[in-house]
Amino acid sequence: MTDRPDLDHVEDRIRQWGLRPPATSPAAAARQTVARIANQGPAPRWPRRLAFASAAFLAALALWLVLAQRPRPIQESASVDLPPTLPENVVLFWLDAHTPVYFVTGPADAVTGGLP
C-alpha cells in the first residue's frame, strides 16, 4: 500500500480487474491446446539430425587431419639395389623411400675420403 489514497484505490482496481476469469474456460482451452498439438504433429527432427551430421563430419575431419600429420614409416626400398651388407665405414641415410645417401668415413688426412 502507498501513502496516496488515489494510488491505493487504483491498485485495488488493478487487483479486481486482474482477477477476472478469462473468456475461455480452462477445459475449453485445454481442448484447443491438445487439438493444436495434434494438428502440428511432432516436433521437427531436422535440427537434431543436422547437429548429428555436423558432429559426424567434424569428427571425420579431425580424424583425417590427425592421421595425415602422423609421420609415415619409410617404405621398403625394394626398388633400390643395395649391397647386402655395408662396410663398417659407411653410414646409410634415407632421404625418402627412393633416395639413399651414403656417408663414408675415413682418416682425417685422407684425400679421397674413405673411398679406395
Partner: protein, 174 residues
C-alpha cells in the same frame, strides 16, 4: 489456481506430459490457464492475452523436455508467456492514451469509473508484469525475479517506477 499454487498432482501430470501424453498436458493447461491468461492480460491486453497463452503453451509443449523440475511448471510457463507477450508488444507497439478510446475488450471492466486497461497501457510491459504479479498474484520480489528473469532489486525498481508513473497519470487527470 494461483500461478504459484503448485500442487503435487500438477507436478505428476507435468511429468506424464514430459513422457509424451498430450492428455496430461491438457490437464496441466486446465490447471494453469486462468492464472496465465490473467497475467498475459495485464501485459499484452485483453484481446491478445488468450492467443499469447495458447502460443506459449505450444512452445512449452515443444520444449517440455528442457523443464528439469516439473513442480516449477507454473513459473516456467509464466516466463514463456511473458516472453511471448513481449514479442507481441514489440510487434504492435500498443500505446493507449488514458483519455483515449481504451483497449479492445476494456469494456468488460465491471467498474467503468476507472479504465484499468487503459491505465496499464501507459506502463511499459515489464512494469505491468511486476505490478500484476505483486498485486494480483501476491508474489514476493524473489519469486517475481525468477519468473521475469531479473534481480529482486530490479523488481523493486520496476514497481517503484510503475507506481510513480501511475501517480503522475492520476495527477494529470485531476
Amino acid at each position: 489456481m494461483s500461478l504459484m499454487g503448485m500442487e503435487d498432482d500438477l507436478a505428476r501430470v507435468v511429468r506424464e506430459a514430459q513422457a509424451g501424453s498430450t492428455d496430461a498436458f491438457g490437464l496441466a493447461t486446465t490447471q494453469c490457464w486462468n492464472g496465465l491468461v490473467r497475467f498475459a492480460r495485464s501485459v499484452v491486453g485483453e484481446a491478445d492475452a488468450e492467443d499469447a497463452v495458447q502460443d506459449a503453451l505450444l512452445s512449452a509443449w515443444r520444449g517440455l523436455g528442457s523443464l528439469d523440475d516439473a513442480a516449477k511448471f507454473p513459473q516456467w510457463m509464466t516466463t514463456i508467456v511473458f516472453h511471448r507477450c513481449l514479442r507481441m508488444r514489440r510487434f504492435w507497439r500498443l500505446q493507449v492514451a488514458l483519455d483515449g478510446v481504451g483497449e479492445r475488450g476494456a469494456s468488460q471492466d465491471p467498474a467503468p469509473d476507472l479504465d484499468v486497461a487503459a491505465l496499464l497501457a501507459r506502463l511499459p510491459p515489464r512494469q505491468r508484469a511486476v505490478l500484476h504479479l505483486t498485486l494480483v498474484e501476491g508474489m514476493t520480489d524473489t519469486e517475481i525475479g525468477r519468473v521475469l528473469q531479473m534481480a529482486p532489486g530490479s523488481v523493486r525498481a520496476q514497481r517503484r517506477r510503475a507506481r510513480a508513473r501511475l501517480a503522475r497519470v492520476l495527477e494529470k487527470r485531476r
